[in-house]
Structures are given as C-alpha cells and as structure tokens.
Amino acid sequence: MTDVTSQTLRQWREAQGWDVPRMARELRKAARDTGEDVAAHHGLVKMIPQWERGNRAPRERYRLLYLKIFQDALGGRSQGMALGMEFALRLAEVRSRAASLPGPGQIGALEAAALAKPKKTLTPAEIRALAAEAIAHLHKVAAKLTELSALLGDDQAEAGQP
C-alpha cells in the first residue's frame, strides 16, 4: 500500500483497462446486482474523474460499490489490495471533508454573529472559547494535511484551509 491517494482509484481502474465510461457501466452493473439506486451513466462519467482527482469523495454507497467491483475483479486474490482500496477511499473522504471546512475568517464571522445575539444556552465567553477551539483545531488540520502530503510524497496540501 504505497500509493493511497485518490489517484489510486484511477490507477486501479486503468489497471483493469477500463476507461471512465466503462467504470461508470461497472458501477451501474454492480448497483443493479445489489438493487442499489445510483446516478445515471452520464452523471457517473462526470463524478468519477472528480473522485479520482480528489476534488470530491464518493459517498458510502459508491465506496461500497467500488470495493465490490475491485474485490470481484481480483477474484478475492488480494485482501491487501482491497484494504488499500478501502483506505484510499477513506483518505479521499477525509481530504474532502477538510477542504469543505470554513476558514478562520468564516469561523470568526460566525462567532461575531453569535455574540451579537444574546443567548440563554451559552455565555459570550463560552462562544469565544468555542470559536477559538475550532480555529485551533483548524490549524491542526492544516498541519496534519501537510504531514500527510509529505508522507504520501505528493503536493496535494491544497485542502488546507488556513
């Protein structure tokens, strides 16, 4: 498991000799077999490259379909590869969540708006502490993304918000 970026999705698709439309057909076929509802073919053709670039993370039902397809394609020969796939999908999901976090400025604006309206549930000090804690964790998210990119040997630290 040396390459655990979202690019793994593309590499494993290409390892099967499948282009994006074929991958879409395989996802729809796997969904039919399990009775799942999935996006139309043209929708999948748009989404698959986004998943492979890490711009978006596939939802759980698509992650499960990917696992089913590649486990079937491997004939159950490589549990390690299936685990790698699962981890690559988890990594894509975490990076996508990190990319969708608000920045420190947006958190500060939320704090200011919350302070502007008197609250019964939280004191102003508690609201300030909540926002400060969120920003502190946001900085840790950025640091961990940088550390992760260094470990993966890529330059995909763009998901860092701060």
């Binding site: 498991m1 975490v94 976090l101 608000p102 939320l110 549930t121 946001l138 961990k144 550390e147």
Partner: protein
C-alpha cells in the same frame, strides 16, 4: 504493512479527529445563530 503505512493511518486518524472537532464547534455556532432567528422572538400577531 510498513512503518510508513502505520504512520499514514495514524496521521489520517488524527486528521479525522481534528476535522470532527472543527465540524462540531461550527455546528454549535450555526445552531446558535439558527436559534436566534427562531419565530419565538417575533410578534405572535
């Protein structure tokens, strides 16, 4: 499973935890704002 793989998994787990903390705090701040806009403050007439 190499030491590097273990380290990557550890960093992802820590990243996940920090993201969850930010998401939770932001959700509370947004909920406070939503409460402030509740109809209870409006004139009942």
């Amino acid at each position: 499973m190499t030491a590097r793989d273990d380290k990557i998994k550890q960093v992802v787990a820590e990243l996940d935890r920090h993201i969850a903390e930010v998401e939770a705090n932001v959700a509370i701040l947004k909920a406070l704002l939503a409460d402030g806009e509740s109809p209870g403050e409006e004139d009942p007439l």
